[in-house]
Amino acid sequence: MTNLLEKFRPLEEKRAALVASSGEDPFHVIVEKVISSTEAVVNGRKVIMVGTNNYLGLTFDPGCVEAACKAVREEGTGTTGSRMANGSYAAHVALESELAAFFNCPAAIVFSTGYIANLGVLSTLTGSGDVILMDADCHASIYDGTRLGAAQVIRFRHNDPADLEKRLQRLGEQSGRTLVVVEGIYSMLGDRAPLREIVDIKHRYGASLLVDEAHSLGVLGEHGRGLAEETGVEGEVDFITGTFSKSLGSIGGFCVSRWPELEHMRYAMRPYTFTASSSPSLIASTSKALQLLSRGVELRTKLWDNATRLYQGLAEMGFDLGPQISPVIAVKLPASVVNTPTLLWGELLSRGVYVNLVLPPAAPGGCSMLRCSLSAAHSPEQIDVVLNAFSAVSAKLQLEHHS
């Protein structure tokens, strides 16, 4: 007799095979002790963390830590409910004003996570008769947001403006009721959306545009406002979503818009209404981190120096990388690899380097990847340790290639 849990058996078999082949479960790594924003203890060994999206390294910034401690002492550990029911704390509202001012927008809404921000905005902004036209490589939160709403969902080929235009054209008059969705930096390959071309196309067809700046906030643009700032199209992007859990070093999400009507959506978004609001300590450290991010030119310079050092080093070793230098560096593994991707990932871990293992179908194009993300807090010496570990992986792969 089968039961509800039967369907998880294939998943468990796959997991068990993965663990048997490498002695590790790469998707259930336990961080035994956090040492700093770039180091931790895993399997009893000190490792350099190169897969945390902690782009500006602010998780241990003394000002952010102090702000969080002060808030938890003064306002408690949690809000114990939603903003609609329990009320917004003054700090929630203040952070919304700070975000609106930072982005030069009339409206901002703070959510409990970045995932929830996309769920709320995508499911509520569009409805029956509307269309969401999304880049095929968009994050799962965008896919899930479309499933929670009633709009028709169509994908266009990744970073291909001509493909986007073809699909908008095909929609005819419906193009005016279409929300185009792209990301500033794509989380797996680290490449950026061709935003200038996409903005031009959305104007031609009267569509609206949402850019998810989750991985580009604090990373791109002179003030860290993301790809829209870097491209010089901020006034032409209709909605920006993002997260506090990467460059801002806490947990939470947001949406800002050049349209003041965003404020009305607050009352209609189920993922905003029916979940607990962010705890005071998270809001406090985020607010402090946003100040540091906005004047973080030095942090961004260090981050990009680190990204360039690692990308160029890996390129020299002959690895197949994502198309652009970026704080997200995808090391694509050849499909024929006999040393399984999990073993290569374990090899890096045993040499004191933690990266993200990405297996199909999570990586675009069905390949396996070792995904690195850099931080401004990494030292050049740490990057060199990472490069040495990858050179051992490279040697294994070449040995295989010549055997």
């Binding site: 169509i154 994908r155 080929r157 073809k166 095909r170 179908p361």
Partner: protein
């Protein structure tokens, strides 16, 4: 106007190369269980079908589509709506 037969023939042509093993495709062929497509590949296939028929195919139909015949029925409706 596409006849149902034309739609099916075009679908067989588009889906055939995705099959991991040689398989005779019919209206009853299940796209995931028989052809072996996973959810990502089905979404890639939708883009190919959109371009081949020059019609928008919302992903929203996918939960209701199991067989090639069911996909053809949805396409018939979408093509009719696009013509009207």
């Amino acid at each position: 106007m596409h006849s149902r037969e034309e739609i099916l023939d075009q679908l067989y042509e588009l889906i055939g190369p995705h099959s991991e093993q040689p398989i005779v495709l019919s209206e009853q062929t299940r796209m995931m269980d028989d052809v072996g497509l996973d959810s990502m590949k089905v979404m890639e296939l939708v883009m190919q079908i959109e371009d081949s028929f020059d019609v928008s195919v919302p992903l929203n139909i996918l939960p209701d589509v199991n067989t090639i015949g069911e996909f053809a029925s949805h396409l018939e409706t979408l093509l009719q709506d696009a013509d009207s």
